[in-house]
Amino acid sequence: MLKDITIGQFFPGNSIIHRMDSRFKIVLDILYVVMLFVADNFISLTIAGIFILMAYAVSGIKPIMMVKSLKPLLPLILFTAILNLFFINGTEEPLFKWWVITIYWEGISTAIFMIVRIICLIIGMSLLTYTTSPIVLTDAIERLLSPLKKIKLPVHELAMMMTIALRFIPTLIEETDKIMSAQKARGAELDTGGLLKRAKALVPILIPLFVSAFKRANELAMAMECRCYKGGDGRTKLRQLKASGLDYMVSLLMITVFGFIIVDNMVF
């Protein structure tokens, strides 16, 4: 049951978005988020929304995945919408008034605006993880952050930690499964009782899991040393990240849209 969890939710494919250099994808995604916050009227926001919908269409990711990515953040979206709906004061007559609740036209429009903005934000970020494998993403982050080595940030070590974490997630999930079965076989009650009781029941699962994780770490470190690991200095990579014409084309498109939105903001 725990085995079915997928990490990073990567969907392999061969679309334009899949083939883009992952460094460009990360930077453009950040740029897109900035763009969403720069856009301050409905026309700009609609353009940004159409842009990401088109990206999804090109990527071949099923539209249902957009909905799935929104699900965990639904409470946040609703909370933001409700706050805006009730607490924005308009200049005209309130549309609706009952007890302490007053709703103005501005409140409704701001609420819709915020919902669209957050939805675009979330599906935009999801597109990155849907179309890029976690390993490639780690690689790209390592390279993007590499200038920070100058200020002694251990970039290679962080990336190596991420790689190993991704590698060991399925292994440790399997192990957790085994330990849970073993403890259940000894009469542990994991699914009953109040919150406190359940939390306490986790202790006999976490302790063996930690002990085993440390043991694994020890053995892995030895195996890595045996394979001549000596840190990031002088290390090369099998996979080379190369920017192609495609990446520059998409970047150009993105910058054009961004430019249009800025102009649009100034005009309206």
Binding site: R167, A223, C226, G234, T236, L238
Partner: protein, 286 residues
């Protein structure tokens, strides 16, 4: 020419009391002398705690003895400046395949060692492909490691070591966690690497039938090497092996029992075919 030379090697783990003070040592290796020629397939046998794994970790400088020396191609393993030459020459494979794979994707993991050596990408690609072909796992190169069986994972671990182009591979009980099918595939892979690529193999094991397939068997007990010979000569000494807590292959055991009953059979049988032949000879004689 010897690839590995061990000279008067002693090693002890420090024993500490409750407060962490060193109060003595637990001698694991006692004055070991061993020479391993290039291209040989050697099995090291011994029951738990005989010091066989500890000895293996000295072959590529993971451990360094308290006294005595280990030389790999003439390089002293205690020389810190040349430790990576030593590790590149002598690769090591451990018991648990899960704990030696570094990357999620098979080919990325095999690429780990050549990446560490700082090779250009084209050469890494070439080494990864040839290493995966050598263990017959090329078609799995884009799979996730955790989807593979134990035997397949262990073969990936071996490929990860081969990608360094070592002259010698030390395998520390590589089949202990595998099912019979996985064990078989690992043994045939090891033998092929030894024959086709001429890689020196040191196989640490406690399975007698695996040791019987080697050219030479070294038996360890309590930190000492007590026997060192070809498998036939080793396994015919059934009483001696039993004394140090080791069994012999089943067919040898059968011959031993028959001999005790007064039947004139050679104890130098290791495979089922050899045993059948010997039995046929006796049947025909009577």
């Amino acid at each position: 020419m010897n690839i590995i030379e061990v000279k008067n090697l002693n090693f002890e783990y420090p024993v500490t009391d409750d407060e962490g003070n060193v109060v003595g040592g637990n001698k694991v290796l006692k004055d070991i002398n061993l020479e391993i020629p290039k291209g040989q397939f050697v099995a090291v046998l011994g029951h738990n705690g005989s010091g066989k794994s500890t000895l293996a970790k000295h072959f590529n400088g993971i451990l360094v003895g308290n006294s005595g020396k280990v030389y790999v191609n003439g390089i002293d393993t205690s020389d810190d400046e040349k430790i990576y030459d030593v590790r590149q020459t002598v690769g090591m494979v451990f018991q648990n395949p899960d704990n030696q794979l570094v990357a999620t994707i098979v080919e990325e993991d095999v690429a780990f060692a050549p990446e560490n050596l700082g090779l250009p990408p084209e050469q890494i690609r070439e080494r990864v492909d040839s290493a995966l072909n050598a263990v017959d796992m090329y078609k799995y190169r884009l799979h996730s490691a955790h989807q593979l069986s134990g035997g397949q994972k262990q073969r990936i671990a071996i490929a990860g070591v081969i990608a360094m182009r070592p002259e010698c591979i030390v395998l520390d009980e590589p089949t202990a966690m595998l099912d019979p099918k996985g064990r078989k595939s690992i043994m045939s892979t090891i033998k092929r690497l030894n024959k086709e690529l001429g890689i020196t193999i040191i196989l640490i094991t406690h399975y007698m039938d695996e040791a019987a397939q080697a050219e030479r068997v070294v038996v360890m007990d309590n930190g000492n090497i007590i026997m060192d010979d070809v498998p036939k000569k080793i396994f015919s000494q059934v009483d001696r092996l039993n004394e140090v807590g080791l069994d012999v292959p089943q067919v040898t055991q059968l011959a031993y029992e028959l001999k005790k009953e007064g039947i004139d059979i050679s104890l130098e049988v290791l495979t089922e075919e050899e045993c059948a032949e010997e039995l046929l000879k006796i049947v025909n004689k009577n």
